[in-house]
Subunit: 340 residues, 2 copies
DNA sequence: CTGAAAGCGCTTACAG
DNA sequence: CTGAAAGCGCTTACAG
């Protein structure tokens, strides 16, 4: 267990060639004679050589890793996103360096500092709330390309990959309008988060286009979790007439709302319409199945990885802003309004 | 964007000291005079120096990363586990190198080879099904300590961290027996996976201790997913008398079974008892809430990280086998049998 | 307390 | 086609 790892020099010594020749063999150079190659390859196998990519990277001034910083992997949206990132990076021969912030800007500082020391070729960052782009730029430096995902960073001139929150919420709202709903709440999320603001805006766009004024009591905040959302259900019904439908901030909130409706003797999908956002796996299999906005987080992950690799190859392109398509998936949770 | 990164040498030149002195400042050596330190630190800040840990690791023959290989992050169990690993590694100043196999032994070979080249200090491996320990040992070499998680590897002499599958399933079965059930199925999972075998064994242990013979038709296989499990529901009811309860392979299967029961007009938690395994977040909030075996995957992740770091510090201890406690969480899905 | 020199495991011109 | 030498960005004895 404790003896030295086998190095290039060991192989060279073992078959009486120079280290340079072994290096050429390892990287499949056509320069090396077939016989020499055979000999070296046998010796590599014999000694169980493992390439030291860190040393090679140092010499070549390259990097074969990309850092991925997310809030929390236990959020299935980010877990899927990470899976997509890792899949695409792996296919390109890169390795993923993981970091998580738990929505703390202080942890984020530390994590980014630590990851930067490992000299990743690029960084994919889904910023914690209330991040400051200038501060992060100082930590990361100007030599590492960064792709910001999901939440726009003030003061940052980095690539940005966003979900089309506004359009997604508009699609959901339009669908409910077409079914005949007029009193449509926007339910859940923190109004100070950018994604919540954008989704509310999409809701407002559709309502306005339909000539309906949004009543302030129809805008209900809650933490974006199932339980907190369930606890807020009653806020929908304090005024008469109450909404007949709710566009929810995300699927977790929508599932929580459905629980809360059940608890009050209401039947989502029969006497109250609900939409979600994200299309988490559960949305397809809950009862009733949830009409939601699909954002394909795994696909977004692949997209982020491909974008950052492109940026690594061409560092001096101007930063771009990508808005990933959001798509409405209609399922059983969206009924017509009662009495219509 | 494209100019060279700032190095130790740049700092040394910038404040007229040697590289050695700068290095000492960076690592907080008490040798360096207070005034020199001030000067160097100012220059570090001025030039925006970022430490190159890879170079330091090369020189010191150390590593500051640990590789984590799982099947798929989109499985919430592994996502939680990964979150725990990353949390504990981060706290110890290590960085997580991520890899995923998607249950393919071929991908696993590639991923392990690629990660090994990055010279991680250790590897935490949740092996794909049908992995061969000898083969993996050849890829990884004998210089990197490995901790195997969740699935025992044939022919491997590595540390092993397991869930106590057998005991967990026994606890669930005993709980049902205490409620008065006699005909208790074991539902879902692939009988050729080791975790399924172990959980079935726990079920058998409890049944045997209660003097009840397990009928073969009560052992029902399905892929460990919600939809596949739902589709197998009818297999429980082909014989009369049918089981009154099912110990499920995991929570996903249990949730699928509950769907399937609903679809057949049955009411889990009222006329049929169901238990799960894993205690995924959803288990607490579904209807009825699911009685299940909690394994605390995030805690397991922390535990795995701490074990591998310990092994990194003391490479020559003999491999150990850790069995993590499994604990029954009783919720609403386990009723008494009908007519009792 | 500080600096010159060697070396970690690779790759890369350059000679031959 | 192959080898000797220099160098990537650090750290570490060793002198002074």
């Amino acid at each position: 267990m404790n003896q030295r790892r086998v190095t290039l020099a060991d192989i060279a010594r073992g078959c009486k060639v120079s280290r340079a020749t072994v290096s050429l063999v390892l990287r499949n150079s056509p320069l090396v004679a077939a016989e020499t190659r055979k000999k070296v390859e046998a010796e590599l196998k014999r000694q169980g050589y493992v390439y030291n990519r860190a040393a090679a990277n140092l010499r070549q001034r390259t990097s074969s890793s990309v850092a991925l910083v997310v809030n929390d992997l236990s959020n299935p949206f980010f877990a899927e996103f990470a899976a997509g990132v890792d899949e695409a990076l792996g296919a390109a021969g890169f390795v993923t360096l993981l970091g998580s912030t738990g929505e703390s800007t202080e942890r984020q500082r530390k994590v980014l500092a630590s990851l930067s020391e490992h000299a990743p070729a690029g960084i994919i960052l889904s910023p914690a709330e209330h991040s400051d782009g200038n501060e992060l730029l100082k930590i990361v430096g100007t030599h590492t390309p960064v792709l910001v995902f999901n939440r726009k960073l003030p003061h940052a001139r980095w690539d940005f990959l966003a979900l089309d929150n506004r359009r997604g919420a508009r699609l959901a709202t339009e669908h409910l309008l077409q079914l005949g709903h007029r009193r449509i709440a926007f339910f859940g999320g923190h109004a100070d988060s950018s994604s919540c603001r954008e989704r509310r805006q999409g809701h407002a766009d559709a309502m306005q286009a339909a000539g309906i004024a949004v009543e302030p009591p129809w805008l209900i905040e809650s933490a974006p979790t199932r339980l907190q959302a369930a606890a807020q259900t009653s806020a929908l019904f304090v005024r008469d007439p109450a909404p007949t439908a709710a566009v929810c901030y995300n699927d977790a909130v929508a599932l929580g709302l459905m629980l809360g409706l059940h608890a009050r003797g209401r039947r989502p999908g029969h006497d109250f319409a609900v939409t979600g956002f994200d299309d988490i796996p559960e949305a397809a299999v809950c009862l009733p199945p949830l009409t939601t906005v699909a954002t394909d987080p795994r696909g977004r992950g692949r997209q982020a990885a491909e974008r950052i690799l492109q940026r690594v190859r061409l560092p001096d392109t101007t930063p771009s802003e990508l808005h990933a398509a959001a798509e409405l998936v209609v399922r059983g949770s969206t009924c017509k309004p009662p009495h219509s």
